[in-house]
């Protein structure tokens, strides 16, 4: 990344990472570097990294292939699942095409049943993720599943994944997490330094950059640039500060962030998968058992597929204070039961314990609801 570029260009560079990553992915395949596709943050990325593979998120973010998916999957299903399945089925996603294996987890009902069908046209491995973080048995199951994934990868790619390599990967991923945390931590600045749209561009784009070390340097350099500009007086106007939580966003669902920021709000924190949810906690580098360390970190991710799900509330609690949040928007993808049901407890927590306004919005991968989203967001911001 050239430091001579203007900040907006750098943000766009991250936004274009997904598109440009296609070529990078092809080049990697030509060098015979394995690619592991994922659909969830629960996949311990350190394992593929330890064998020199690259990891790519396959969660689709457009409605282009939904009609194709609906030939087989029910219409009343989460758009992320339908669209991801559709992209796989139609071979329209180069990342899916280049992935040597897809690793899924038993997270939500929609995904785990979808993998059964996906396995018919792609090598799929599904990790048995417990639906609770509360018991010793759940932890043991997850730790064993991580070890099982390691053996599976070793066998499939005919490599040895040593503990030393895993440790190196843990250190590298922790560096990346720290860099990303420092970057999205810019959201704490008040008046703001950057828009939520730009924060999301970087968080999303960074998942399509395959050279982890270069990626870390780019993020650190970008944060430095923003901070320097801020100290030199480049500050944004103060606006009501919004925290976005709930289902994964990215691609077409950026319409939510746009609707918030077009109507007078400023997104300062993303709690979603693409945001802090999976980045916030590091893997313990001092834990003697690497599998224990990985299991601990990944099982603690506060997704609504966990019951109960106290870690989501704990992260919200902390970030609402640290980011001086004025209001919370909970994004629910249509037919996502776990997040939809959890809105009740999140609303109660935000309204009663944090005494700030909360609104949940249900949306899908179409652009049909942009008018309604604008009205809702404008009304929400007027309320603050």
């Amino acid at each position: 990344m050239s430091l001579r570029k203007n900040l907006p260009e750098i943000f766009d560079q991250f936004a274009d990472a997904r598109k440009n990553g296609f070529i990078a992915a092809k080049a990697l395949k030509e060098q015979n570097i394995p690619m592991v596709g994922t659909f969830c943050t629960y996949m311990p990325q350190e394992l593929p990294l330890a064998m020199g593979a690259v990891v790519v998120s396959l969660c689709a973010t457009s409605d282009e292939t939904i009609p194709e998916a609906e030939k087989e999957l029910p219409r009343n299903l989460c758009p992320l699942i339908k669209s991801s399945y559709g992209f796989g089925k139609t071979d329209k996603c180069p990342y899916f095409y280049f992935s040597d294996i897809v690793v899924g987890e038993t997270t939500c009902d929609g995904k785990k049943k979808m993998y059964e069908h996906m396995a018919e046209f792609k090598p799929v491995h599904v990790m048995q993720l417990p639906n609770t973080q509360q018991s010793e048995d759940a932890f043991t199951l997850w730790k064993n599943e991580i070890i099982r994934l390691k053996s599976l990868l070793e066998e499939k790619f005919n490599v040895e994944i040593t503990e030393t390599k895993i440790r190196e990967a843990i250190v590298l991923k922790n560096f990346e997490r720290r860099a990303l945390k420092r970057f999205y931590g810019l959201g704490k600045l008040n008046p703001p330094a950057i828009t939520g749209t730009d924060i999301l561009k970087v968080l999303y784009g960074t998942t399509f950059k395959f050279d982890r070390k270069a990626n870390i340097d780019e993020i650190e350099a970008l944060t430095d640039r923003v901070l320097a500009a801020y100290e030199a007086g480049e500050k944004l106007e103060r606006k009501p500060r919004i925290l976005v939580t709930g289902c994964p966003i990215g691609g077409v669902t950026e319409k939510i962030v746009k609707a918030i920021e077009d109507n007078g709000g400023q997104v300062v924190f993303f709690e979603n998968c693409m945001g802090a949810k999976a980045i916030e906690d590091l893997v313990d580098e001092n834990e003697p058992d690497v599998y224990e360390a990985l299991a601990k970190k990944y099982l603690s991710i506060g997704c609504s597929c966990m019951t109960p799900n106290p870690n989501r509330v704990a992260l919200l609690d902390r970030s609402i204070d640290e980011y001086q949040v004025d209001g919370v928007i909970d994004v629910i993808l249509q037919a996502c039961h776990t997040y939809a049901i959890e809105t009740i407890s999140i609303k109660k927590f935000v309204n009663a314990s944090k005494t700030i306004p909360y609104m949940s919005v249900e949306t899908d991968y179409s652009t049909a609801d942009i008018g309604q989203l604008n009205t809702r967001m404008a009304a929400f911001v007027e309320m603050l």
Binding site: N351, M359, Q372, T375, R376, A379, E382, M383
Partner: protein
């Protein structure tokens, strides 16, 4: 100082002039295929009514709120309905507005500020459109609703979807069921649905009911039955959005002139 408030809804466009204490002039016209020109015509007509030579600042709300180029500012219908309801009835803490193509519940604090809201804008069931379609199927005018249902027994309408409910009404008519019984059934069905909607936000406080349907006594009675709390309305309840826009506009302009 005078302020004009215009609420550009999907079915009707409403306008009021507010002088800081009273709503002095009001106008309701059907929204045409061109909501922008409907707003412009309404603005002209209201201005004429007021007999003023000077320009009256306009604040807009509703679906077409951003269309009027001469507006001072646009404000969402949520905020305006809240402010309008609090102006018409100072004790209001919960507003139910059943509009032509959406419905909303708004919760207010004691000062009349919006603290929470819900909107249904995905489905015609639970909106004014539902009753409009059913009345058309019954070949009756919406204004006759109260006369039509008085001393009738409601038939159960089981379809929640406006399209299916229309077929249901047609088959009930074919069976020779009295149109008054059917109309009361339709009305009961939308009120039951609206009551569930209100209960998602409200904890047993009286309701201020606004929107075009608030003109109907029978809808108010049915809502009270389903909600189990008093339902208040106002002769100007259809104008509540426009009144809210004018009241907020008045506050904003007064504050900026201090």
């Amino acid at each position: 100082m005078k302020i004009m408030g215009i609420d550009s809804g999907s079915t009707t466009t409403k306008g009021v002039i507010f002088n800081g204490t009273h709503v002095t002039h009001t106008l309701i016209v059907p929204t045409s295929y061109n909501p922008k020109s409907t707003m412009e015509n309404l603005q002209l007509a209201l201005h004429k009514l007021s007999g003023d030579d000077e320009h009256i600042p306009v604040y807009t709300t509703g679906y077409g709120r951003d269309l009027l180029s001469s507006k001072k500012q646009s404000i969402t219908e949520i905020t305006c309905h809240g402010a309008g309801a609090a102006f018409l009835n100072a004790d209001t803490t919960t507003v139910l507005d059943i509009g032509g193509q959406d419905s909303k519940v708004i919760q207010l604090d004691v000062k009349g500020n919006v603290i929470d809201f819900l909107m249904n804008d995905k489905c015609a069931a639970g909106t004014g459109r539902f009753i409009e379609v059913m009345m058309r199927t019954l070949h009756k005018d919406l204004l006759e609703l109260d006369d039509l249902v008085t001393s009738h027994t409601p038939v159960k309408i089981s379809s929640m979807c406006a399209v299916f409910a229309e077929s249901e009404v047609i088959s009930l008519l074919a069976k020779g069921i009295d149109p008054g019984d059917i109309a009361l059934g339709v009305l009961d069905s939308i009120c039951e649905r609206s009551a569930h909607f209100v209960k998602r936000l409200n904890r047993d406080a009286p309701i201020f009911f606004s929107g075009g349907l608030a003109q109907s006594k029978s809808i108010k009675i049915s809502l009270e039955k389903h909600l189990g709390v008093p339902v208040h309305t106002h002769e100007k309840a259809q104008l509540v959005g426009a009144i809210g826009a004018a009241v907020i506009g008045y506050r904003k302009l007064s504050a900026s002139r201090l």
